[in-house]
């Protein structure tokens, strides 16, 4: 008699140069049966080339020495994350995540749960043998109450170790899974049902319909410390009491295949379309020197965008510019600040310790920063701030009623525009007003109605300054 040619599985197990037809599994172990069921379904459905199996860490770690399809080895518990990425980047792939109960139910449970919740396109084959096989018979989340293992030597005690985890039932709380079933490989009749379940899970993948989950009650004679027959009987008698077999959900008939990927522009086309106006490239100009500005106030006063506006104006003038904000809790907790450096050459430090120009919209910032201003520098401070703290000698302090004026004009959020008016009128940025205006207009790119309004506010502020300040 000629031997039957194996399809879907390799002829021999070839790890470490041994060419054996025996598997690496113990006699009576369920893994081998489940491997065979997966192989048969894969071959019958004609999806061998498209199939990628993510192999777990556990007794099935060497699945790839058996399955003749694409194989990826996972870290312990991470097969669903890896499977997620494979299917998301290879949409034609039939992805299988094959996992034990320690792998899936303990270390990797959140990855399993989240992948199921997202409805990832993969078939998850979950081998529940109630124990950690590979590492020497430790307690698993699925270990039965009272069951002795190497880490529950007196039997699993619910008081300290809790109760067995019912993964099918937990996943059934989620909306996305298409198919969830618990089967067993304890005897031939049960194996026939398991075969149907495997096939259905893979059909769902073949048709691109979504997430499928099959749990196998599977014997582990070695770690139960019994022979094959007793281990199988344990599965059928004890485990099924805790883990009833059957289909928990099957929406495969109605599930829709996912929509095709939309057509999109190239990266270059996309970014070119997103940028209407173009700042010229910066040019080195040694004579231009360097100007350091600090903008400070409460979060929400538009301090950060005022800084960006000045930096953008500098760019229009072919200057180098950096902008650096306060961020994180500092930004939310009250005060906001940003540093802007404008230079005729590439900029070193972007943070401003000694500003040439300090804009302050609130008292705490004024008190904190005014002493740092360089001699010859300028402080523009909102007129509501008491000037108890003295500025260093040679620093000019200009009170500006930015907040009051903006309220008077009916746009209390535009106090920052009033400060820009002051910067322009005082000429302290060294930038041309036309560039500051263009930058201001551009900052309202998404709200064009505000462009006109802010121009009016600028005029009002400058008129006020002409009347009230010794310029």
């Amino acid at each position: 008699m000629t031997e039957k040619k194996t399809v879907g599985m390799y002829d021999v197990f070839s790890r470490s140069g041994k060419q054996t037809r025996a598997t690496h599994y113990c006699a009576g172990c369920g893994h081998g049966i489940i491997h065979k069921l997966i192989t048969e379904a894969m071959v019958e459905l004609g999806i061998q080339d498209r199939t990628v199996i993510v192999n777990p860490i556990g007794c099935a770690v060497f699945g790839y020495y058996y399955w003749d399809c694409g194989n990826v080895g996972a870290a312990h518990g991470r097969a669903p994350a890896i499977g997620t990425a494979i299917n998301r980047t290879r949409r034609d792939a039939v992805v299988i995540s094959y996992q034990g109960d320690g792998d899936l139910g303990a270390i990797g449970f959140n990855n399993t749960f989240q992948a199921a919740g997202r409805g990832e396109h993969m078939a998850v084959f979950f081998v529940n043998n109630a124990i950690y096989g590979m590492t020497g018979g430790q307690m698993a989340p699925t270990t039965l109450v009272g069951m002795k293992t190497t880490t529950s030597p007196f039997g699993r005690d619910p008081l300290t170790a809790g109760y067995p985890l019912h993964v099918c039932e937990v996943l059934n709380q989620l909306k996305a899974p298409v198919y969830i079933e618990r089967v067993s490989v304890a005897d031939t009749k049960r194996i026939m049902q398991a075969k149907r379940a495997v096939r259905k899970a893979l059909e769902i993948q073949r048709d691109g319909k979504g997430y499928a989950f099959v749990e196998f009650i599977s014997p582990c004679p070695t770690n139960l410390g019994v022979d094959s027959l007793k281990a199988a009987a344990f599965c059928a008698d004890e485990m099924e009491k805790e883990y009833p077999l059957g289909c928990v959900r099957d929406e495969s008939a109605t599930a829709e295949p996912r929509p095709p990927v939309p057509v999109t522009p190239t990266v270059k086309a996309f970014f070119e379309a997103s940028e209407q106006h173009q700042a010229p490239m910066a040019e080195i100009d040694e004579k231009a020197g360097e100007l350091r500005l600090k903008f400070t106030g409460f979060g929400g006063q538009g301090i950060l965008s005022l800084g960006v506006c000045v930096a953008e104006a500098a760019r229009l003038e072919k200057r180098f510019a950096t902008w650096f904000p306060s961020y994180g809790p500092e930004q939310r907790g009250g005060s906001a600040a940003c540093s802007v450096v404008i230079s005729g050459k590439p900029i070193g430090s972007p943070s401003v310790d000694h500003p040439d120009v300090l804009v302050c919209m609130n008292q705490p910032s004024y008190e904190r920063f005014v002493r740092d201003v360089r001699p010859g520098g300028t402080v523009i401070v909102d007129a509501t701030v008491p000037l108890a703290e003295k500025a260093p000698d040679g620093v000019r302090v200009v009170p500006m009623p930015a907040i009051d004026l903006s309220i008077k004009m009916g746009v209390p959020k535009a106090a920052n525009t009033m400060m820009l008016a002051a910067l322009m009128k005082l000429g302290v940025t060294g930038l041309k007003n036309e560039h500051l205006l263009s930058a201001l207009d551009a900052s309202f790119k998404k709200k064009p109605a505000l462009v006109e309004k802010n121009r009016l506010l600028l005029d009002e502020a400058q008129a006020w300054m002409e009347k009230n300040l010794p310029l």
Binding site: G70, T264, F271, E272, Q278, T322, F324
Partner: protein, 351 residues
């Protein structure tokens, strides 16, 4: 074409021009704008974006996409980077390319969200288990946040090991002009090794297990031989070093502060320059030792001396002799001022 963007946004733009197929990530300050940008821009140009359930998932998603022959990346900061260490070790072991951006914040523990460089050893000496090396690149501008992200993909695919872009909160948050790349990078052919779910690649296998010690040792030796070749891609930058009597040694944002400090020192009569490693792994040790020869040196870093230790180590390795190198550092999210560096440099000059 130019754009005025945050460093974090520049990373995303760089990734897209590098041909990155997919972004996986979990939010964390000060790296979150990378996820925000990726969520917006990746799908707009037909790439995949997925918010992972945690950083452990992020890194294994990068592993999975790389195994499938795709260009994948993630970005995070301190605590997330710590969670990724196991996965980075797995990727290195399985010869998988992929890019991880660490926008460093202050630690240890939760620390805070302000800039630090305390993850130097974790990245450069490899915080995961086993003998492996990553490519580690240290940008020092918004432009480089983009350009070195592209370079990270190139080197990662050249050496088949993960590449880390080691940035910091300041660079992630700051805005500067970015000159966008001229064109997209050509895609590498991954058919010979990746599991692409096709007949042609059916026999390909991605794994990191060699249960037998001799096989695992042989694997280790192959990896080490590969890492030894990386030194060809060591890069550095010098500023005002030609006639310098004092060299400030700094990477990342500290090199920018050092630049301004060197200018300030020169205006005060001290001839100072800056040596800046662009690649931290491979480390430009030969160039460092050459530049420091006969000069005083001061390391400027935002960590406890991790980088300083490495500078000493490389000097000894290159020259075989110990040279004193001073240290000016801050931690905890505090950034040294230019004045701090200038004062430290003057002290070094007096020695």
């Amino acid at each position: 074409m130019t754009k005025f963007v945050k460093g974090n946004e520049a990373v995303v733009i760089g990734a897209l021009y590098a041909g990155c197929d997919v972004y996986f990530g979990y939010p964390i300050t000060p790296a979150s704008e990378i996820a925000h940008g990726a969520a917006k821009w990746f799908p707009s140009v037909g790439r995949e974006f997925l918010q992972a359930e945690c950083e452990t998932a992020s890194i294994y998603m990068v592993y999975g996409a790389a195994a499938a022959g795709r260009l994948a990346m993630t970005a995070t900061s301190g605590p997330g980077m710590s969670l990724m260490q196991e996965g980075i070790s797995y990727m290195a072991a399985a010869n998988l390319p992929g890019v991880i951006v660490n926008v460093m914040r202050a630690g240890p523990g939760l620390g805070n969200v302000y800039p630090e460089q305390g993850d130097y050893n974790q990245a450069v000496k490899c915080g995961g288990h086993g003998n492996y090396s990553c490519v580690v690149l240290a940008p020092a501008s918004v432009q480089e946040m983009c350009d070195l992200t592209i370079r990270a993909f190139e080197l990662s695919f050249k050496y088949f090991t993960p590449a880390i872009v080691l940035a910091d909160g300041l660079q992630g948050q700051m805005m500067e002009t970015l000159v966008l790349p001229e064109h997209e990078m050509p895609k590498p052919d991954t058919t010979p090794w990746a599991v692409q779910a096709t007949q042609e690649t059916r026999k390909n296998l991605i794994t990191s297990i060699y249960l037998d010690a001799p096989a695992q040792e042989a694997h280790n030796l192959r990896l080490q031989a590969k890492y030894a070749k990386m030194s060809a891609d060591a890069r550095h930058e010098t500023y005002l070093c030609e006639d310098a009597e004092l060299v400030l040694v700094a990477y990342g944002i500290c090199s920018r502060i050092a630049r301004t400090a060197a200018e300030t020192l020169r205006s005060g009569g001290v001839k100072a320059g800056v040596f800046r490693p662009v690649t931290l792994s491979p480390f430009p040790g030969a160039a460092l030792s050459e530049t420091l020869k006969g000069r005083k040196a001061l390391v400027v870093e935002l960590s406890a001396g991790q980088f300083h230790d490495d500078v000493l180590l490389h000097l000894v390795k290159e020259g075989g002799r110990y040279q004193p190198v001073d240290l000016c550092n801050r931690m905890g999210g505090m950034v040294m001022t230019v004045d701090d560096v200038v004062a430290a440099a003057r002290k070094t000059m007096k020695k």
